[in-house]
Symmetry: D2
Subunit: 168 residues, 4 copies
């Protein structure tokens, strides 16, 4: 896993859903980012990670918290194609931006999953307004605790979190 308090690596994405233009973590600096890695055929993602991501998306103000789904297929490559993800997003009525992780020519683990050293799906990465990884969990995450962690991170003023452009 990425170490907590390390800089969150940028996303490497094959294609995006639910967003008009590609997102970069760099462009979300100043917001807390909740990155939820999932897989459409993973039972724990479908029953846990995905609906939790949707709840986070519906609970927090978008100027404070950005939710990003990351579809990371590390097996069943023959089964998967982007149309499966598109249909899944439609059937589950997901509204938050979702990235299809960039396939890896060198192996089964796609590139973002690899650089975050995720152990599987669902995984949740919590990134603060400065772009630092503050939590990296594999498996179920408790709503109350997650809420507390996001709520605490949002309290750091956005201005304080942003690099000074050098007003001098």
């Amino acid at each position: 896993m990425t170490n907590t308090n390390s800089h969150a690596p940028e996303l490497l994405v094959h294609s995006w859903f639910n967003t008009e233009k590609p997102l970069l973590l760099a462009g979300l600096r100043g917001r807390v980012v909740v990155l939820v890695a999932f897989q459409v055929l993973c039972a724990n993602s479908v029953a846990g990670g995905i609906p939790q991501a949707q709840r986070v998306y519906e609970t927090f103000a978008p100027e404070d918290v950005a939710v990003i789904g990351l579809h990371a297929t590390f097996e069943h490559h023959r089964a998967f194609n982007p149309a499966v993800l598109k249909a899944f997003i439609q059937e589950y009525r997901l509204r938050f931006p979702i990235a299809l992780d960039q396939p890896n020519d060198a192996g089964p683990i796609p590139l973002t999953m690899e650089r975050y050293a995720m152990r599987g799906t669902p995984s949740l990465v919590l990134i603060d307004r400065l772009g630092l990884v503050r939590k990296h969990a594999f498996g179920p995450v408790d709503d109350l605790r997650l809420g507390a962690e996001i709520g605490a991170l949002t309290q750091v003023a956005a201005e304080a979190a942003l690099p000074r452009s050098s007003a001098a």
Copy 2:
């Protein structure tokens, strides 16, 4: 929907999973059959119909009750291929026999779904030991009521249900 008390039409199947050889309803005469139509990308199937089918499979003796899953894709045809279903069965650890409904050259509704006039997924068809449809439901089915209906049908003696081969 098929009418209750009508003869259950035979299944038309592209391919089978979790069974060594293809099943025919005709070959299950004498058993109660619980046929659960689902779709891997249908949220209500995944959260409701599929785990219920698995519970039925685990609750009743196989000589009394046969559970059959029917994967019936009537949309998202571009997204689907048999490898998706195979991966789904593996990920969700499903143990009961599952049929992939026969695609329909004449339209989007596959053949078994069409001849049962199913309204969508999940659908549940309950067939008695004689091969008659005794329930045909679209959407959520209550466990207690379903248990009662299956329990009642199993009480009809298997011998009584089977055609006499020739009492003469």
Copy 3:
């Protein structure tokens, strides 16, 4: 516990709720009886046994299945009084007949609980149309299996279950 297939002992009741007149198992012969012992301060009764009894009551026809709650306090005697049970029934909007078990001058276990040799609450006793105990469970009972057991017992014709009024 009472042995399965033994005759269900008659209820010994301090007072009744949700019924105009006291009930006797003898008077329910010909019906399947689901007897659910509970305690208002028992977490598993409140979360499990009680709502399940209510579901059974709502699922089956009253001429086939009678549901009886039995409030059996074997501890917390100082805390309990009949007004607590009355308030509980009102707050939880229970509709099925509920008996307050007869206190026992000789010890903490009330009389019906004692003669059924119940191990605690919640307990569920399933009695067939003839008055025989067919299931006696302590703790959680699965809806699907319970439905199947009730459904099977209801299939025995009521007439067959009743004693002939004149064997002569």
Copy 4:
């Protein structure tokens, strides 16, 4: 209801459970306080407010967040006595401090419930480190949102929240 951002009125308590000595909100200044009003015979308290209070108690560090249960009986007075509450706490294995609201000689609403103008049970009052009411809710409260609100309030440094003892 008490107005948000008003000073949280002190608790008026008949008796305490799960604490060696009585608590005062004044004595908890510097901590976030989650006050959960409930009633042992109220279905929504038992299924929702009480287990949520227990989860909050288990999730946050006691030096940051104090959880207090307030048993507020505004009806069923004949049914209730302190032994009922004691047995309930034992049966539900509650660990956090619980106050029995002070009965009101002038009417059915006990004194703390009255001065907070609570609408019923369950009610949740969130008090910040300075002793100000920051949330006052009647009915179900979402875990994710509650976590966020508590998490945000804990971020205000305890020192900043405490009155300076001598600004001189």
